[in-house]
């Protein structure tokens, strides 16, 4: 069973980006993906006050196939209430933080209160982890160190130029999980599994605009054992999402 831990549903006409849930389902079917985590590209409450309802609606439309992560802007006073509502009322399975769009430092007080609350709720926090300031592995590791009881997922596992750092901080902090979407280095995914274990590496595609078919193929060309491949492609995700 393949579970994609990183897909997007949103519409951004200003950038020409269109990511309907139907496209997620279409590309999931092409790639043999059973279920996926979806999140918006925009944050709630700014610039998208309706982000929660959008994702909740698609979860309802595709039960058992789409699970929501709430993408929340940490700066706003109501952010904790939004997270509680997402998880307790709508059944969201995780929190998404993207410091490029929010400018919120991962280990800053505003982000930390959300991460801590996510930990209390028993859900993971997925960070965009790339090459931009405030998204690098070392920046996010600081947050992980301050809140060891919360699970932190490094989406993209360091982007183009910070992959080695992502693996290293995962070695240092047992609450960090590496997520493979868009990582263009299959050999680094192999290295990550060797150094932190297959239990802490999860598959994501960043679809539907990134190719889920190619992202699955990327994992398969790594040549993992059947057991490790199953963990990466789905078993770990089942545990994280509370599906097992």
């Amino acid at each position: 069973m393949i579970i994609d831990m990183h897909m997007h549903v949103d519409e951004l006409p200003g950038l020409g980006w269109s990511m309907p849930a139907s496209r997620c389902i279409e590309t999931m079917d092409e790639a043999g993906i059973s279920a996926a985590v979806i999140m918006t590209v925009t944050d709630i409450p700014e610039v998208n006050p309706n982000a929660l309802e959008l994702i909740a609606g698609e979860m309802t439309r595709y039960p058992g196939r789409l699970f929501g992560f709430a993408r929340i802007h940490p700066w706003y006073a109501e952010s904790i209430k939004v997270l509680d509502r997402a998880v307790l009322e709508h059944g969201f399975r995780g929190l998404k933080l993207h410091p490029v769009s929010t400018l919120a430092q991962p280990s800053g007080a505003e982000s930390m209160r959300l991460i801590r609350r996510a930990g209390e709720l028993g859900i993971p926090t997925l960070f965009h982890c790339g090459d931009d300031p405030m998204t690098t592995p070392l920046a996010i590791a600081d947050a992980a160190a301050r809140c060891p009881e919360a699970q932190i997922i490094l989406g993209h596992m360091g982007g183009y130029g910070h992959t080695d750092e992502a693996i290293r901080v995962a070695e240092l902090h047992s609450n960090i999980i590496l997520e493979t979407s868009a990582c263009p280095y299959p050999e680094k995914i192999v290295e990550a599994v060797a150094r932190v274990g297959a239990e802490r590496v999860i598959f994501g595609s960043d679809g539907p605009v990134c190719s889920p078919v190619l992202e699955v193929e990327k994992i398969r060309m790594c040549g993992f054992s059947a057991e490790d491949e199953a963990l990466i492609l789905g078993d770990n995700a089942q545990t994280l999402l509370g599906l097992s």
Binding site: L15, W17, V100, H128, G130, D131, D132, T135, H156, G159, Y160, G161, S181, A182, P184, Y185, P186, E187, D206, V209, C210, S211, V213, L214, E217, K218, M221
Partner: protein, 257 residues
């Protein structure tokens, strides 16, 4: 998705001894091509441990001479060498180099810096296309490469990495502008995480300005070949142009004929 008759020709890979411990031998190069189902490649020298690009260029030229059906050589040039750089373009062209490689990241120059001009002017005089390793902040951002291409409108440029190394997707906006404004600028798909960028580029600027180039071993040749096979093409002619035809048209020489 490409049809069964579409061949792949890698528009750029690196070869030889590497200062950054990415050594690739001739045997490995040929095996990697075979393993990925790629017919041949345009090859450039790694930055060598000796820092001697001239000697490294000679190795690539020698390999291309031995394997003319599989390897098309580029000359790797450091513009900071000024007059010696211009002389190296001319020297390598007489020995069979089919283009010039500029690596702003490893040779530490911005493509918008006028230090590049003499090398590019010489390449233009010799009808050699210029490959620019793109996407690096400060040095080869899309608009910086476009600035270079606009200063030399008669030279064919190919920028690698989709001219973007940014997983937020934000650099793509500048890439779109760069490609729209420079008809002499084409783009490789190496390392591009957004499949829709490739699909859109083929639809908007045309398949004759998009090409397969792996930038191996910095990227994985098998994965990059698979990326191109799984791209959406309007027809087989477009697929052939992107996967091999454009590269052979720009650099082909004896291989193309």
């Amino acid at each position: 998705m490409t049809g069964p008759g579409v061949r792949l020709w890698d528009g750029l890979l690196f070869f030889g001894s590497s200062l950054f411990e990415r050594d690739v031998t001739v045997q490995q190069l040929l095996e990697n091509l075979d393993d990925a189902g790629v017919d041949g490649c345009v090859a450039a020298a790694h930055k060598p441990p000796t820092y001697d690009l001239g000697a490294a260029n000679d190795v690539v030229l020698e390999v291309a001479a031995v394997h003319p059906d599989r390897v098309i050589p580029l000359a790797r040039i450091d513009p900071w060498q000024r007059g010696q750089a211009v002389a190296e373009v001319r020297r390598t062209q007489t020995l069979g180099a089919r283009g010039v490689l500029l690596h702003p990241w490893e040779e530490c120059f911005a493509t918008s810096n006028e230090v590049v001009n003499a090398v590019v002017e010489t390449a233009g005089q010799l009808d050699l296309p210029v490959v620019v390793v793109g996407g690096f902040p400060w040095l080869s951002e899309a608009l910086q490469v476009a600035d270079l291409a606009q200063r030399h409108p008669d030279v064919q440029f190919v920028v690698t990495n989709g001219a973007q190394l940014n997983m937020s997707g934000l650099a793509g906006v500048d890439v779109d502008r760069a490609l729209e404004s420079c008809p002499n600028l084409a783009v490789h798909g190496s390392g591009l995480y957004r499949q829709d960028f490739l699909d859109n580029a083929i639809a908007t600027i045309g398949p004759e300005r998009v090409a397969f180039g792996s930038s191996s071993p910095y990227y994985n040749l098998r994965l990059e070949a698979e990326r191109m096979r799984r791209t959406s093409y309007p027809d087989d002619a477009a697929a052939m142009a992107v996967c091999s035809g454009n590269t052979l048209r720009w650099f082909g020489g004896a291989v193309a004929s």
